[in-house]
Point group: C2
Chain length 398, copies 2
């Protein structure tokens, strides 16, 4: 049995950066850029008017406070020219700064009467309210390095560079497999000894939150049928996620089926609670994750191990985040305790309040958690206020 640290190191060792593909700009949100993006023009591409008002020649401020309005320079118009340096042009935000001008004075600082703009004062400076050509980036500059995650702000930058196709890291193709003859489809009324399938929907949702669309299937607790099905799935998908059938039960056929199919098992059993029977293996470029069948074990192992694998695939650096335990806890077993918590912040501190629950088979209370703290195996008393690594189960955008 591996420690959590050894298991995570094993995942990292057998993972590698995914291949890349070109996709349409429309589809690139929440994907990882596989190559740098460069400016196709200066940013801004011209001396850009940054306030609505008038544009003048600043040296005229020594001589006059009233300017005849020659014309208007609107956004989207070709650059105009101030003909007489004693005059001004009205200018709109986003417009090109007119030729022969170097100072923009906003409407708030002038009064216009009879085609004459009168300034409130002559205390204005050259280049004020002008967003200078190239100040943010020069043509050819790298705007976004490879390894940038495409969030809305990044998508805005991509649009501005005119990229209609974007090179990103390929998403793995994933099949989520439930096992366990006690499971029935959700639309069925279960018999007294049956329960409805739920882990596969939970995993499918967790993957969707990571912008991966995965399929689900159900496999019977029958060794020959499992073997035939998994052989085909290994051919058709990059990653298989299993819920159940990896523990010590008589019908937990997955480990032996994997061995017979030539899947190398790198991890089987981790010193942790929940999730002790967790399994991880590979066959060439294909990967299998065997999550124990209890809902909490499944979700915790997904986030502790599959997400770590996915970070390597996408090339995301794994950064530990720490949260403050919000309650005294005693846990005497010499294993890592992944403790379900509900997070909040207080005065800029990240708090993690443990969720009362009855164990890894308790799906009812799983709905209340948004993260887990990983309490180390060497310690058995954990005090309120101590900090421990935290892993999020989901984040909404509020």
């Amino acid at each position: 049995m591996k420690s959590v640290k050894e298991a995570q190191d094993t995942i990292i060792k057998f993972s590698k950066k995914g291949a890349s593909e070109s996709i349409a700009f429309e589809d690139c949100l929440n994907r990882m850029l596989a190559e740098g993006v460069f400016a196709d023009r200066d940013a801004p591409p011209f001396d850009r008017v940054a306030m609505d008002g008038i544009a003048i020649q600043s040296e005229q401020l020594l001589k006059r406070q009233r300017f005849f309005i020659e014309d208007i320079q609107a956004a989207g118009q070709e650059q105009k020219k101030l003909k007489n340096p004693e005059n001004c042009l009205e200018v709109m935000t986003g417009a090109v700064l007119p030729y022969n001008t170097d100072c923009v004075i906003p409407y708030e600082r002038i009064t216009i009467d009879n085609g004459i703009a009168a300034l409130d004062s002559t205390a204005h400076k050259s280049f004020q309210n002008i967003h200078k050509k190239g100040v943010d980036a020069k043509k050819g500059d790298q705007l976004l390095p490879a390894g940038t995650w495409v969030h809305p702000g990044v998508k805005g930058v991509l649009a501005t560079t005119g990229l209609t196709m974007v090179k990103v890291v390929k998403s793995p193709t994933i099949m989520i497999c439930s096992t366990g003859d006690e499971l029935v489809p959700i639309e069925n009324k279960p018999l007294p000894h049956q329960i409805r399938r739920s882990n596969v929907y939970m995993l499918q949702a967790a993957l969707k939150d990571l912008n991966i669309e995965a399929e689900t299937t159900h496999l019977p607790d029958d060794k020959p049928k499992l073997k035939t099905a998994i052989k085909e799935l290994l051919r058709d998908y990059d990653v298989l996620l299993f819920s159940g059938a990896v523990s010590k039960g008589k019908y937990d056929f997955l480990p032996v089926v994997f061995q017979e199919l030539g899947v190398q098992i790198h991890i089987h059993g981790v010193k942790q609670k929940p999730g002790k029977p967790f399994l991880f293996g590979s066959q060439g470029e294909k990967f299998v994750f065997g999550f124990p069948g209890n809902p909490t074990s499944t979700l915790v192992c997904f986030h502790a191990y599959f997400k770590l694998w996915l970070k390597q695939h996408w090339g995301i650096k794994d950064i530990l985040t720490f949260g403050h335990l919000d309650k005294d806890i005693v846990f005497n077993k010499p294993v890592t305790n992944h403790l379900l918590v509900m997070t909040s912040t207080e005065d800029g501190k990240l708090l993690a309040k443990p969720i009362a629950n009855s164990g890894s088979g308790d799906w009812v209370h799983l709905a209340l958690a948004d993260a887990f703290l990983s309490l180390p195996s060497e310690q058995s008393e954990f005090k309120k206020g101590e900090i421990f690594p935290i892993t999020y189960l989901h984040k909404n955008s509020f």
Copy 2:
């Protein structure tokens, strides 16, 4: 001009909870439950075996340490019965606890030889490793109240209750409108005085992160055309988001067009930087948000105001989160300073490091920010380590 607080109070005053609709279970991730969800059976629905091993009658532990294995109780099988109380049944995780047994001893604590299970000790207790019927919830209990956000764990609970249709708060229908004659489609090569449309894609992505699919359109800087187009859009959509045309420019026709169309303008101008010209109005049940056209202004106002409106629509309580400013800042204007930052955590503290940028028209540096701190107008010196309200621009699930 309103303060940020007055503007936010105005948004809250004119917002209300959205109507509800029934949608398929498959589509309910990241939606808001509009009604409570109740257990259709006990959870667990039976005394559930929680470890692979054997089930015995605990009172036999006083008399014997070796048990003949009568049969196997697998998960998904009807409940079996231990015929002879001196014997045991092998039992698998997820199975119904066999009739006549009250104690599960895991394989790790026994050795099996010749059909006889020998215990490591008699120090086992009744009801150990049994997940008791109804301990997590009783049939009829409310599992999830109305106002629960459907994250993956909640989706698992919904699956278990067998809900194939789920009642959720309706998503608003939204059109995102760019204005500004300087804008060209992203696939075009802009002329020297033009730039590509980008704000609409940024807003569309920000809405998608909130699980709302919105459309985009472009409107010309032409008052009659604007009026005709907006009249139709107000008929067809719940919410219109505008980027640009709300400031003091000659071609900023939106405020007057709204007035002519009977849109009540509740906010026009907020004491803040960026985003001073922000506009918010309503016409019956329809809402318009006018974001200033600069990329940073647009994104900041979307998160400061539209998201606040959406929280009311969904019935999400607005909870302020605070982050630690990670650098000394001086800002002398008597307005709220929405400062772009990159967040991180250090020892359980939420840090917010300001992003260097050249102003609200700088889209290049917007890509580096993941949040903004709102520095209050009454203060002008802000010290490293002080805490201020933080608003996230996006959150990825790592």
